[in-house]
């Protein structure tokens, strides 16, 4: 069985990074959180503008995502900046305490000035960062890895080179007892029957068809056609002509092992093996959900070249063609274009991805990490109140 070196957390989960983060609960505190993070080099800000003026479905989704992000195994310690009597702050703190993860909450109240809040935050983060440096990696089984599967800025090569190679990787990790999580429900539209027929049983297949159908219904209720936004202008410039064509390429990332489970946005898989998470096709929101659901790494194929990353998980970029790898090399880790011009097979690139996943799990930085790409956005469901 393949091994890697990760950080074993008190709750038994395995992290492949050891981040100290500061996270805000509501938009009102976004600027202060950014400011506090900026005072301690090495600390990662996780900033959003939600958490308030939201309907329950958005509130619950935001809360689940924030708890999953702060409590992620790649996080060594988290500072939460909240309001007085802040339920989100309380829930994050309770979840992290239960996990045995160092957490501190600073809430705005009548007795604290901005300077005092900033000073208190800086002091706690500095100590947490020092403590994190004392934590060491230990040998872990690949069965502990959850890898998210994503694509963005797709082109006509995506479904021919990078996505099938990711599928080959998915088969490899699943055969070794690990977990791969495919996402982007929008980009299954038109190809959903193929994935559903690959489900482990009738219930999982039906569940998958239900989330795709719900998505389709939601789109129709807006009075719009999904095909006016997807394929995007960039997808079309890259040679994709229809959403169905894009979807047929997209689902190839799932490989050939049975679909074992369908989970909600930011939800942790309860099964090992190949899983599907219900996320939008919007890359950053999708990666955010995969990470909050426990994925320690995300694989991201790109035909046009996308720089985006995540504040808490390494994102490995796989270029679909030699040209994009050449001109956007600072943002791309693996060249699946070698299938086109170097006579490599899908299996070869799948193995290259597998080896890269292990290297990155051991600490090697991805292009997105080197470029400090730490985009974060939570999928919104309803209008702000």
């Amino acid at each position: 069985m393949t091994k890697f070196y990760g950080y074993r957390r008190p709750d038994g989960s395995i992290g492949i990074r050891n981040h100290v983060i500061v996270i805000n609960t509501v938009g009102n505190l976004s600027a202060l959180t950014r400011k506090v993070a900026g005072l301690v080099p090495g600390v990662i800000p996780v900033i959003h503008h939600g958490g308030e003026s939201q309907f329950p479905e958005d509130y619950v989704q935001t809360l689940r995502t924030l708890v999953g992000t702060a409590g992620h195994s790649n996080v060594s310690a988290a500072l939460v900046i909240g309001m007085e009597d802040d339920r989100i702050a309380q829930e994050i703190e309770a979840a992290l305490i239960e996990k045995g993860k160092p957490v501190r909450t600073i809430c705005l109240n009548c007795n604290l000035t901005i300077q005092e809040m900033v000073k208190e935050g800086k002091s706690w983060l500095s100590a947490a960062l020092e403590n994190s440096k004392k934590e060491t990696r230990e040998q872990c089984d690949i069965t502990e890895l959850i890898v998210g599967l994503e694509c963005g800025g797709s082109d006509a090569w995506s479904g021919i080179t990078a996505n099938p190679s990711i599928g080959a990787f998915s088969d490899m990790i699943v055969h070794e007892g690990g977990t791969s999580v495919l996402a982007e429900t929008t980009e299954a539209i038109g190809a959903e029957h193929i994935l559903a027929s690959n489900a482990i049983n009738h219930e999982v297949g039906r569940e998958f068809l239900t989330i795709v159908r719900n998505y389709d219904r939601r789109i129709k209720e807006t009075g719009e056609d999904i095909r006016s936004a997807n394929p995007t202008p960039g997808n079309m410039a890259g040679g994709l002509t229809t959403l169905e064509e894009k979807s047929l390429g997209c689902i190839k990332k799932g490989g050939s092992t049975p679909l074992r489970e369908v989970i909600s946005y930011s939800e942790m898989p309860s099964e090992k093996g190949f899983v599907f998470m219900d996320t939008p096709g919007y890359d950053v929101e999708s990666v955010c959900g995969l990470a909050a659901g426990g994925a320690q790494i995300v694989l991201f194929s790109t035909g046009k070249g996308s720089p985006t990353g995540s504040p808490i998980v390494p994102v490995i970029k796989i270029g679909t063609n030699p040209k994009v790898y050449e001109i956007m090399s600072e943002h791309i880790d693996i060249n699946a274009g070698k299938i086109i011009d170097e006579n490599k097979s899908i299996k070869d690139i799948g193995k290259e991805i597998f080896d890269k996943v292990i290297d990155v799990s051991n600490g090697e930085k991805t292009a997105a990490e080197n470029q400090l790409n730490q985009e974060f956005a939570i999928w919104r469901l309803a209008e702000s109140i």
């Binding site: 600027a31 400011k35 000035t113 997807n230 202008p233």
Partner: protein
């Protein structure tokens, strides 16, 4: 006569101000020192806007802004996989912000493959100010994009050092006002002073844009009486019937619930805060006022989204009325934080003006002077702490 050479708030103005309510007719000439733009609007700040078209270009956008003196980074979570009205809000918000008079110039940074194309934004944004835009994919990577962006914005940065503020009438001010997180009793302590300020601004041909949030919507019937425009009257009365927002979990129906008596009472007080002038119109998100006077602007209660909405409709300064102050401001427009004085608490370092039981006219004068000073360049408390943010509201889900 008061003679303060450091202030635009001159003696003749002060005298006329003290005359409020005494039926003494005095010619007023309130002025502030601002940046006059080619289209006739006035900036209270002279920022260079570095604007991302999509979240994917936000890191490069931040990178450019951090390397250029005077640059402000406008980043957000939107820009791709959006449809219909939700996408239109993103586009109009970014176009509106670029056109804000507080920007000297704008640089748009995209990824390249996103729904919200830079070329589309460039086609819609007014060209009376310097503007350029390009994408990361077009430039073959973030490093090249940042280098070109820093070179362009760096030139603008040199140009803004040559720009001088000039004395302008306060009719050039478009003042946003939002009331948030405050109960009726505390609001009542503020209303006489703020409503008098708004009346003064409107008498002097300024434009005032009030956020129409969930807390003010129940006052729609009262506000409809003040509205001249028939469409606004009808819509305000509809809005007052209950909270109405778009969501998808409840099948086809929009979310709708009636307002409580307490909500209606608070809304009536919030409406009184807007003074005695008539309403010129009701604006949709990102819709600019069609002229001078008092307008209502549909907004969410999310403070960052609402302040960004002010920036997109052309406000060059704003007032935030709350019980205890807020911890965030706009990075486009200066926002003056106003709160009721509470002797049981020590003053907070992020509130600009406390309103208490002191002489009303002196407090009105102090508030107007603060508005003029801030419009003339004085930093607000939240600006001094560099707590500016930007966000675009969602009125639909992403796909």
């Amino acid at each position: 006569m008061v003679d303060d050479p450091g202030s635009c708030f001159t003696g003749i103005i002060y005298n006329s101000f003290l005359s409020l309510g005494r039926k003494v007719k005095v010619v007023m000439s309130y002025t502030f020192k601002g940046y006059l733009r080619k289209d006739g609007s006035a900036g209270t700040r002279n920022h260079i806007g570095i604007i991302s078209s999509v979240i994917c270009s936000s890191t490069v956008t931040n990178d450019i802004a951090s390397k250029v003196d005077g640059a402000v980074s406008i980043i957000h979570s939107n820009g791709c996989a959006q449809l219909g009205d939700d996408f239109n809000v993103t586009k109009s918000m970014l176009s509106g912000v670029a056109e804000n008079p507080n920007f000297y110039s704008n640089l748009l940074i995209g990824l390249g493959c996103e729904t919200n194309q830079v070329s589309g934004l460039l086609a819609t944004i007014d060209k009376s100010k310097p503007i350029e835009g390009f994408s990361i994919q077009q430039m073959a990577g973030g490093t090249n994009t940042a280098a070109k962006g820093v070179a362009i914005a760096g030139e603008w940065s040199k140009e803004i050092t040559e720009e001088k503020r000039m004395e302008l009438p306060i009719s050039k001010l478009t003042v946003g006002i939002i009331t948030i997180d405050i109960d009726e009793q505390k609001l009542k302590a503020i209303t006489p002073v703020v409503s008098a300020l708004i009346d003064t601004l409107l008498k002097n041909d300024s434009t005032v844009v009030s956020s129409l949030t969930r807390t003010l919507e129940p006052g729609g019937d009262y506000l409809a009486e003040k509205a001249e425009d028939m469409r606004a009257k009808v819509e305000l009365r509809t809005l007052s019937k209950g909270l109405n927002r778009r969501r998808w979990e409840s099948d086809k129906d929009y979310a709708l619930r009636s307002f409580s008596a307490e909500e209606r009472s608070l809304a009536a007080e919030e409406a009184r805060l807007l003074g005695s002038h008539r309403l010129e119109g009701l604006l949709d998100i990102n819709e600019k006022p069609g002229g001078k006077g008092l307008y209502l602007l549909k907004s969410s209660e999310n403070i960052v989204e609402s302040l960004s909405n002010f920036a997109s409709v052309g406000c060059n300064v704003a007032l935030i009325v709350s019980a205890d102050g807020v911890l965030v401001t706009s990075n486009v427009i200066p926002c003056i934080s106003i709160a009721p004085q509470d002797d049981s608490q020590s003053p907070r370092d992020y509130v600009d003006i406390y309103i208490g039981n002191d002489d009303k006219e002196q407090q009105i004068a102090a508030l107007l002077e603060k508005l003029i000073q801030v419009s003339s360049g004085e930093l607000t408390a939240l600006e001094a702490y560099e707590l500016g943010e930007f966000a675009i509201p969602h009125i639909g889900t992403t796909f």
